[in-house]
Symmetry: C2
């Protein structure tokens, strides 16, 4: 069917269409291809909330500021060491709302089910969502269910959209990051990605690695109730710590320096990464955040992160060196420096 | 992988699992099977907003009331006479927010893309969403993109979640419906379903039927700005006018009577329905609502509906006869009466 609108779109935002003419797995990988595709779509939807290039949007009703974030979950396998798609769908979106500095309150759930999916499987996912919602203090207030024919889906896809309330006057977003800020990481990295990899059928490596999948809202509240001047927060999901840092650096037009030796990586994760030729800095996490605060508050922020059960290994891992084009430089334990960029391809499809 | 939680879920809400042990297409059809499945899941997520059994949830932040609604869109074909999946994904969710009596303000978009989907197709969908958002005055403020392997999805699935602000003191929900209320319908029915049916590959009937796909928020504002005492609103999507009325009647524990002769059905739609052995009262619409108001305000509400471009054929089609178990009785043009129930099977998969 012909549609005159397609021309307008291609003219308005050619960027995402330069490298490919069809959707490839890398478009969902959290790296450069996804970034380009999304930048193209954001062009079409241009508005102030999107212009902040944040994990979620902050909008105002009168004097109330609300944070809104959405994510679809297609992780495979659906049940993995340390979590499952239901838990991930609640924690993941609650975390994105928290990254806006908001207290997560309400969640919507949209299910796309494949014909033939055992209802017992669906029941396990729903029960897991119920528990995760209770645990994180959000109410699942509305939902929708669609069914597609066998072979047109993959058992259960979940979308959750979260709404939270911003209860302070800070603007927690890339534009608030300043030269001199300290960069903190809330814990060891790479466990979610390597747990999924280990759980994937056909992979012949034995491992006890469990996903780091965890809710981060309480940790964020911990920073805020201490009155710390938090400039930016981001959870390090698809594309790992690297994508989170590069996105923020590019949006803020600043240069960052990362101290590789300061980044906590567990020995089993490091070994698994070496086996697969992966850099832990690119591996997905589901319960880790980076936090930007003024240098003078770095130690207090570190203490706040460490006070949370999933922040015990938090560390100061870098700093903002000055204005620039968004380069993130990593200094290795051997003193060498290299620029980090987002992944160009796809490391591991359907990680979340 | 064994999971102790599955037992809890099955014990807590066995109802949806009685008739089937796997997901069937009817679970997405808007009829009784879907209703049972959803009731089961609502049991797991029990809270006040869900208890209202409305199209969306109304939640409060201080003195501000917000309406939230979510829908996933999997319609096939994605482009059909009178609309496309992008337009539907914006209008549909905006309409659900409006059915809570709220002014729709913000929208999130979650895309699940199948590897191999032409980016030109995605571009058309995105452009259509952009236009529909402009038209309905909502801002698309946040989004997410996931990619699944070839054969694990079907090109483009869209989830939209809408947030609106309730700007009046009414409680527009099934619990507000009273005996004696008039039931109004905003226009002719059955066009969306028959347009999709006509557009489906392999159907050998020629037709000029276009979808009724339309935004309804301005129509609702028209009712509210006239100060009418609106008791309940619902758009008549999957499962048609029948599902909308039965859902409201059951939630409110009231009996309704519908005057079949008063329900507008276009001649071409009626002919197509007869050809396929379908009852227009069960066919999906995407731009029609039912409205409950006190009898004394029925004519004023009718005038308000008719003042909207998509309400020119609005009609008073029934009334609430009294308390009961939620039976909806339809009186035919020949004077006979029959009880309407939700569909038990699936009339037309992936209608929206």
């Amino acid at each position: 069917m012909s549609d005159p609108t397609s021309k307008d779109f291609t003219a308005a935002c050619p960027a995402p269409f330069a490298a490919h003419d069809r959707v490839v797995l890398a478009h969902g990988g959290g790296g450069r291809a996804m970034h380009r595709l999304i930048e193209g779509m954001l062009g079409a939807f241009d508005n102030e909330a999107l212009a902040a290039r944040h994990d979620g949007a902050v909008v105002s009703v009168g004097t109330t500021r609300l944070a809104v974030s959405t994510d679809s979950y297609v992780v495979r396998p659906m049940f993995f060491p340390g979590g499952d798609i239901g838990k991930l769908a609640v924690y993941g979106t609650v975390n994105d709302v928290a990254m806006c500095g908001a207290r997560p309150r309400w969640l919507s759930v949209g299910l796309v089910l494949e014909e033939g999916t055992p209802l017992e499987t669906l029941g396990r996912v729903v029960e897991s969502m119920r528990r995760a919602a209770l645990e994180t203090g959000v109410a699942i207030v509305t939902g929708d269910t669609k069914v597609v024919e066998r072979g047109k889906g993959d058992q259960v896809f979940v979308n959750t959209t979260g709404i939270g309330v911003v209860e302070h006057a800070l603007r927690i977003e890339p534009a608030s990051v300043r030269a001199g800020d300290a960069v903190l990481l809330s814990g060891d990295i790479g466990r979610h990605g390597m747990a999924i990899m280990a759980a994937r059928e056909g992979l012949a490596f034995e491992s006890d690695i469990t996903s780091d999948c965890a809710p981060l809202a309480a940790m964020v509240q911990g920073l805020l109730t201490r009155g710390l001047e938090v400039h930016c927060l981001r959870d390090c999901t698809r594309g790992g710590v690297t994508s989170a840092l590069v996105e923020i650096a590019e949006a803020a037009r600043l240069e960052l320096e990362l101290d590789e030796a300061a980044v906590p990586v567990h020995e089993d994760v490091r070994a698994a990464c070496e086996l697969f030729g992966l850099d832990p800095l690119y591996v997905a996490n589901e319960g880790r955040l980076v936090c930007f605060v003024p240098e003078r508050e770095a130690e207090a922020a570190l203490a706040a992160l460490r006070a949370d059960p999933s922040g015990t290994e938090a560390a100061i891992v870098g700093r903002v060196t000055g204005a620039g084009r968004g380069t993130v430089t990593v200094r290795s334990r051997y003193g060498t420096a290299r620029a980090l960029d987002m992944l160009n391809g796809e490391q591991l499809p359907r990680i979340c």
